[in-house]
Amino acid sequence: MTGFGRRLRVVAIAALVFTPVGALAVPPACPESDVPGLKWLEKMSRSAQTLNYEGVVTIQRGEDMDVVQVSRNAGRDAINESLTRLTGPGEQVVRKAHPQACVHPGSEMLQLGDALNRGQCGISQYYRLKVTDGDRVAGRRAVRIKVQPRDMYRFGYVMDLDRETGLLLTTKIMGPGDRLLEKSQFASLKYGPPTAEPSPVQSEQQAEQTCSDDASEAKAEHGPWSPGWLPNGFRMTEAVDRTSARRSYTDGLSAFSVFVEELPRDIRPGEGVIRSGGTTSYTRGLRLGGRPVLITVIGEVPVNTARMVADSVNWEVARAD
């Protein structure tokens, strides 16, 4: 135990010594090299509110390949969207009449507007952005944004955007060492109001589209539980009430959700993880504040991030911002 304590002190001192160095290593407010990328991402985000199109998208996760049909019809006041699975049993998700005025935190983080000129750099605090020429995708000329995380708590992305409209044509989620985790790409795309008859489906689901007025100021409620730590730049996606068993967070590009279940009886403590494409699902059983609970973190983040967040969940303790 003595040896362990000594080692801890050594590490503590080492970390304290390194802290100022770490602080100095933080890049200046808004690296010039990231500005073109930020502008493209803003264009992409705004295009999602204005473009009409329909198309077919292929999605690759490991060995699995999914093909879906997507359509979007953006009116002056509202947006209608649908996604239909063309592989497996027919399933469809429909989002009807999403108000144009409703901008969610994830989009706000990309739509910097004038704030960019005032030196705010949004997600480039957490990612390095590099813009290059992209390949042609679904017959459209593309521009490629390479998005590299500045820390180890998020994945990287390679995004191809339509050079003309800003529409996101290809998304690759990249693990460390440029490991491809997931890829979605338009195979065909037609701009204009959707005309195709939707494929017959077995089930249709209405997508949730809560838009609380204070979404932009969504903050962690204190209790009964909350994570004590989040990776830099992650914000709650919506205000939740105290009793909610879920909290969701986004940094503008990726998202994860935390679920906490109180169990009626004790469970043998332990943890498990499933990874699928860019998604990590991590579940942990433990006692928290004297209660047996099951914590699950699901999202497009590395396992280590999910574990860090789960590890930091407090019961009845205010979040340390």
């Binding site: 304290l16 998304t171 996606t237 279940e261 494409g277």
Partner: protein, 197 residues
Amino acid sequence: MSDNLRESLSALMDDETNELELHRLLAQIGNDAELRATWSRYNAVRTTLAGQAAAPLSLDISDRVREAIDGEQEDATPGKFAAITRPFASLAVAASVMGAVVFGGQQLAYLDDSGQPGAAVAASASPVGLVNSLGATSVQASFGTQALPGLKPATRTAYRELCRQRMKSYMEEHAEHAALNTPQGLLSYSRVHRISE
């Protein structure tokens, strides 16, 4: 701690573990206080170096340890220096109650062995609502004077299965938020295993 474990831990931090290594590590970390402390420490140093305030560290195995750490954090006067040192103060506390960690760990390991055979992860009425996975893996632990054993492979598999089930039931709710807050939009729903009506 063996070099192998240290390497696995580094790989976990860098998201470079293979599946086998990852599951072995997660099964072990719950029973190995030093491994947990090392993982917390690695993260604290890496977050600090990345310019973020260090994460509040928690050693999660025992309520006694957690409460000791929470108590210490509440006592600390908030301030810049405290913010920097707090995690390490927690670690010092953690080290001072290391005995309790081991003891607490044993207590937890005994949970399903406390006079009611298979109580914790019992068959049909398991606390997590599973019918045929955790229930089939009730393990009778017998510690005596030997070192705390690692989770039996069956339990490891059980937690993986539990995770798979939770992923299925929660994925759609997560996708709703990812769809509204990430550039992929509605495509987030394609991650849902089976979209429900």
